[in-house]
Amino acid sequence: MTQPIKLYPRLTKVVSHFKKYDIEVPKALLEVKAKKPDLSDFPYPLPQRKKDYTCYCEGPEGVMWYGSDGGVTRYDPNADCLDDKVMYMSAHRDLLDNHVSALVTDGGDGVWVLTDNGATHIAMVKMSMEEKAYRLLDETLTYVQRHGMVSQKRLSEAGNLKSILPYGHSDNDGSFSSCFAMGEIFRYATLKREKGDFDEETMEARRVAFRASEANLLLMYIAGRGNGFVARTYLTSSEPVPDDGLFYKKNGATAVCLNTTDARNRGVVGLEVKADAPIPERLRKFYTEEGFEDTDITYKGDTSSDEITHHYLHLLVAHEFLGREDPEYDELLKTAARNTTKHIIDNNFALREADGKYTTWAKWNKEYFETAMGWADACLNAGQMLMYLRVCMHITGESGIWQETYDKLIELGYDKLTVEHRNRFHHMSIVGGVEDREEMMYGDHMLACCALFGLVTLEPDAERKELFREAFRTWRYTLAPEYNCGYDFLYFLSDPDNARPDADRIRTWFYRFSVSRLASGVSINSRRDIPKKELMGGYKETSALLPNDERFIAKYDRNPLEFKSEDSGGVTCVESCYPYTFAYWLGRYFKLIEEGNE
């Protein structure tokens, strides 16, 4: 990529709902007589049948809004890209329900929509992609973050941010928070380069980046086992402990495993484990400033390779941009890297739980690779393990045991294993009677990107670096159709000779990313313009990748092609902004994208 792709300010949906007779609702909306539109020569696919459209109104510059029993269709004949020619807005992401009875313009670029359950104002606000990043960040910091970690928060009422529950954790707090932190670090690095160290915006970005990074790094220390064990997440005494996983309540010198279903199944209820290894004050502040002590902490164990991989890429990024200007913080990063890497090496390339057994999903050893379950995972996990060692060597500046271990793993063929991903994965899919996209754990996509980006970036041997690029390419057959800028930017940076950035797709990804991370479904089943494709095992996908704001979800660990109206996790939550901010600031920092003026 030679020239950054320019992103221009764009009209972006901002949706507000009202009761039908709310004073804000324009009288015209209630009085307008619906007229059926003539769509006989409509030049693009329409989400609904033509006969189902019952009303319309015209906005400025030829923009048309059409209402139907299946939602709202916006047509902009002058849109400069195909994805924006026809936009589809539906319940409940954009509307209270899909039964549209009247439409009037709002006098600007937006529209008022009357449906059975009330009125909706869809404002079309012109905003830059940077402005969108800030709006998303603001929402995340206001509603989503929990002790500085960001993943998601539950709501008691779908679509209502004010109904947010004050507690709630995610199994993957470590992963999501790592990505969020990396995004904010890249923001800081970008602004520092563009505006200088002492610009107010830069200084605010620095504060946010450090806070995000520190909150995330705390997870590598908080267990206090003194052996580099990394916690999935933690709760304070003000938060209820869910019956979902292994939780350890810290009681001083030890922590005790609480009585949960998983703990009972594993036979570790009441098991005590060391918990008094010191936690740096700089990191403890996330709970001490909230008035909690170490003994108020309950952390979650049984950590998986997902968290570890995200943590290591975070260590690398934090070291490069924060550690280099803050030696004290750098030392915390290095210590975490040393401790956890050593833990993994000492435990036969696995994370070991308090009961002496491996955690369920953190195994990088040959024995695991030779099991039926581990055989296909081996290609990803081998790359992850090599990446951890490379990151550890890079940020500590040490070789010794890290290099010896790396060499040993190379001898065992770990590097060559990375290129077998597609073969082994496809092999297992066929055995399972399903297609690759059905077999895929979509969270693995980001893991592969993190691991292989790290390896390609840090590997000094040219031949092996090329091998890791080849390994990255073995993932592209499932990665590429997603057009996820977070994945693609890491790939483009790793394999520039084979990078084929599609500027239109990249722009659409940013332009059509919703300005809020409030979870909500869309109405895909009634769409006539999107073919449904049933895979061998019965899994359903769309034949065309929908823009972010028209698909059921916009996350990194889901299949964006899934033919689905809403996430299985439901709509009562608000997600972190990182899917957008990570990609945006990574792209900005590496000059893959830049803001353009109209």
């Binding site: 055995v431 006539r528 313009d529």
Partner: protein, 823 residues
């Protein structure tokens, strides 16, 4: 690791080869009877058999035996493989043909036996195009078995078991059998088991041994089964197990084993087969195109004119085409008499196509409003000059079956003095000599601009005064040019001496003549040309007898050359029309030169030569090493000349064979060898020769800047093979406008190969399209009046997509089996 040798009891059945199909049919009946008997005698025995066409024969002729087979299939003792109508040649059928091979066969297996085949199986076919993994996957198959080329013919391909990928990312687990598809008798079996045992040890995985008497059917004998039974656990050998290819692949996948991958084609075995027996190749191409186009119009008519769709008739016609794609038929290596049968069955298919086509377009045409106030008689006829007697122009409706707009000359069989389109604009036309000797001797050629999968009406005023000898006269120079190219012929040789691409300014013939009819000595090979991969022994160049310009008008020029070589003659009409990117060459060859090939040579010269060839639903680049290569509608040579990348594509209406020795592209037009000669000792006899006598064919030359895949070669070649149709009409009222399009896709790199009704009788529409330019991923949409809406789709490099639209306009993406078979 399990290294068991799976014993695959089979009978290789050639329905036509050294015998005609009637004998092949009998051979199937006998073999199936024998297999059933063996299955009853030996509980361990499993029988494997491909080709839905054979089962259909049995069902029609011997329903009782068919029932026995059905029972054995249900028990898993009889395993159908290869969800295709026959074991076709895997280089020359079009992508749409492969789709039909799967569609009609898998649906047949599903209907009759409740199963679909998971394993593709073409153990005798002579090469396998690079798109096969996709064609197999989309036909419901995940595994593949082949034999040719063997390891001695191509050692770069992984030796036995590997993942085979096509450019869109599809893949099949593929097994190359090292011991053929026939093993019979103790000695032969032992020899082959020895080889397989060794391979199992070397690879660490199991192997398959195909045993049974084959080619003319037969199958496993009692003696073979008894011998194998006695040796299932022989000391020092891996275990043997009676099984099927499905069983083999299932078991091998249960082993955690890393296999090599291959992402190229599987070539070459019998390089003479791409050109032997032009007749069958020409009929195949013609039938494929005629059926696809007829089916599109039949479907459109069924909606626009509410006519009954001809799905069943098309099924029957396509099955004939699929049958004739059997490798020994399509490859031209069967006995001469077999091609009489081919003519019959392809004629059946072509007749269905032409009737359906005609009925459909006329039904549509009659709904077009062509009424002119004042016309009293709808039709007036004066010999062949049909029209109004009041001086009104006559409507001619031109139908375009392609998914892109076209603009090209169209012929009607009378002379004109004026021509306008439906908006009243003057249309360029030219009166040209007709093929008849009656009346004026003149036809009209006019430039028709017709929207994608649509029609346009033109208004022609008949010129009753015109007469050929008055009108046609041409100055005698040998230069033709239009907006895209200029072509000049050498008066001494009749070869092209200058061919300039006007976009780049590059002369492709600056150092050499082009379009040189070259006679190649081919007496050393057999019909297949086994073990011969290059045809380079030039016997001589054809010599000019006559050159003349026969037409020179506003619309087109025609230069005719006549060459001879001993007693063989070749007449070529080089036709260059205004607005046309392709120089068309209509050839008539009277060929009597035994053991020869006729090639048209285009030695462009230049550097960095890259040759590109069309394969089913895609293209492939191959080294310019002079090996004979198969291609569908076109082949291309792109070189650097004058510092610019420029390409010359050659397309044809019936040929499949090219070579590219360096910066030279050669179309192989004729091959004259003895029918079905397998390196015989050629006893003294009055043999018949392939391509002997009169051969008519056309080829075209298209020039472009840049690489082949960035050009319009696919669309040009498809248009070359599937012209628009002009329907002379009369005056009537109607609800349709004079010009309309029924279907459109916005992507320049996508063409539609099928528009049909679903086979399940639901009335759902089926649309199949594919990506032509090798672009990694495109997002496009389709719009159609047929369902009054459109839909979006993503499409990968060379990907084939099939969509099914129900009556309520819900759209599903399905595979070749049209979503009829539930997962």
């Amino acid at each position: 690791m399990d290294k068991t040798i799976k014993l695959i009891g089979n009978a290789h059945l050639d329905p036509i080869w050294l015998w005609r199909w009637q004998e092949g049919c009998g051979e199937v009946l006998q073999t199936f009877r024998s297999a059933l008997d063996r299955l009853k005698e030996y509980n361990c025995f499993v029988f494997t058999c491909s080709s839905a066409a054979y089962y259909k024969w049995v069902e029609d002729i011997d329903p009782q035996m068919f029932e026995e087979i059905r029972v054995m299939i249900k028990k898993g003792r009889w395993v159908p493989v290869n969800g295709w109508w026959v074991q076709p040649d895997c280089n020359m059928p079009s992508g749409e043909s492969f789709a039909r091979q799967a569609l009609y066969s898998q649906l047949y297996y599903y209907e009759k036996f409740g199963i679909t085949c998971k394993t593709g199986y073409n153990v005798d076919s002579f090469g396998h195009n690079a798109m096969m993994p996709q064609l197999l996957n989309k036909g419901g198959m995940t595994n593949y078995v082949f034999q040719r080329p063997d390891i001695s013919e191509n050692s770069e391909i992984p030796e036995n078991l590997f993942w085979w990928d096509s450019p869109d990312g599809s893949r099949v687990l593929t097994y190359r059998t090292p011991t053929g598809y026939v093993a019979h008798g103790k000695e032969d079996i032992d020899y082959k088991l020895e080889i397989l045992n060794q391979r199992a040890e070397e690879t660490g995985h199991g192997m398959m041994m195909f045993y049974g008497v084959g080619n003319h059917g037969g199958g496993p004998t009692r003696g073979d089964i008894e011998y194998l039974k006695a040796n299932l656990e022989r000391d020092g050998f891996n275990d043997l197990e009676f099984s099927s290819p499905d069983g083999y692949f299932e078991d091998v996948l249960n082993e955690l084993i890393d296999l090599p991958t291959w992402d190229d084609e599987l070539q070459h075995h019998a390089s003479g087969c791409y050109s032997a027996t032009s007749l069958v190749k020409a009929l195949n191409r013609k039938a494929e195109n005629a059926l696809a186009a007829a089916e599109k119009w039949d479907t459109i008519s069924s909606i626009v004119a509410e006519s009954k769709s001809g799905t069943k008739e098309f099924e029957s016609a396509w099955q004939k085409v699929c049958f004739n794609q059997f490798h020994d038929i399509m490859c031209g290596c069967s006995i001469m008499e077999a091609y009489e049968d081919v003519k019959e069955s392809e004629g059946y298919a072509l007749n269905i196509a032409s009737e359906k086509y005609n009925n459909a377009v006329l039904r549509i045409a009659r709904k077009i409003d062509t009424w002119i106030e004042g016309v009293s008689d709808p039709v007036f006829e004066e010999r062949h000059h049909t029209g109004s007697d009041n001086g009104f122009p006559r409507p001619v409706v031109v139908f375009n079956p392609h998914s892109y707009d076209v603009e090209l000359p169209v012929r009607v069989h009378h002379p004109s003095k004026a021509d306008t389109d439906s908006e009243g604009n003057q249309v360029l036309f030219q009166n040209v000599r007709s093929s008849r000797s009656n009346d004026s001797h003149l036809d009209t050629l006019f430039v028709a601009k017709v929207p994608s999968m649509g029609y346009a009406t033109f208004w022609l005023e008949v010129d009753r005064e015109a007469y050929a000898e008055k009108e046609i006269g041409a100055e005698q120079n040998f230069l033709m040019e239009n907006e895209f190219m200029s072509v000049e012929f050498d008066g001494q040789t009749g070869y092209i001496k200058s061919l300039v691409d006007k976009a780049t300014g590059v002369n492709l013939a600056d150092d050499n003549f082009l379009a040189i009819p070259t006679v190649i000595d081919d007496h050393k090979t057999d019909t297949w040309a086994h073990k011969v991969f290059k045809f380079n022994e030039i016997k001589g160049l054809m010599e000019l007898v006559e050159i003349q310009r026969v037409e020179s008008g506003a619309l087109r020029s025609v230069i005719r050359t006549k060459h001879k070589f001993n007693d063989s003659y070749l007449t070529q009409d080089f036709i260059l029309a205004k607005g046309q990117k392709t120089l068309k060459v209509e050839c008539k060859a009277m060929w009597q030169e035994r053991f020869t090939m006729l090639k048209f040579a285009f030695p462009t010269g230049g550097k960095d030569a890259i040759s590109t060839y069309e394969i089913p639903c895609g293209f492939i680049k191959r080294p310019c090493n002079g090996e004979e290569e198969p291609a569908l509608n076109w082949a291309d040579l792109t070189v650097t000349k004058d510092g610019k990348r420029v390409g010359l594509s050659v397309m044809s209406d019936s040929k499949y064979s090219y070579d590219c020795p360096g910066a030279e592209l050669r179309l192989t037009a004729l091959r004259n060898v003895i029918f079905a000669d397998h390196y015989s000792d050629r006893p003294a006899a009055d043999f018949n020769f392939t391509d002997e006598g009169l051969n008519r064919f056309s080829y075209g030359v298209y020039l472009h800047g840049g690489e082949a895949e960035c050009s319009d070669v696919v669309k040009e070649a498809h248009l070359f093979n599937n012209n628009v149709v002009a329907v002379p009409e009369s005056y009537h009222k109607g609800e349709l406008p004079q010009k309309d399009s029924f279907f459109y896709t916005n992507l320049d790199n996508v063409v539609v190969t099928a528009l049909k009704r679903c086979e399940d009788g639901s009335g759902d529409l089926i649309i199949r399209l594919y990506e032509t330019k090798g672009i990694e991923d495109s997002k496009g949409y389709v719009m159609s009046k047929l369902f009054d809406n459109g839909f979006w789709y993503d499409i990968k490099k060379h990907e084939i997509k099939t969509f099914r639209i129900d009556r309520d306009t819900n759209v599903r993406e399905v595979n070749f089996l049209e979503g009829i078979i539930e997962n």
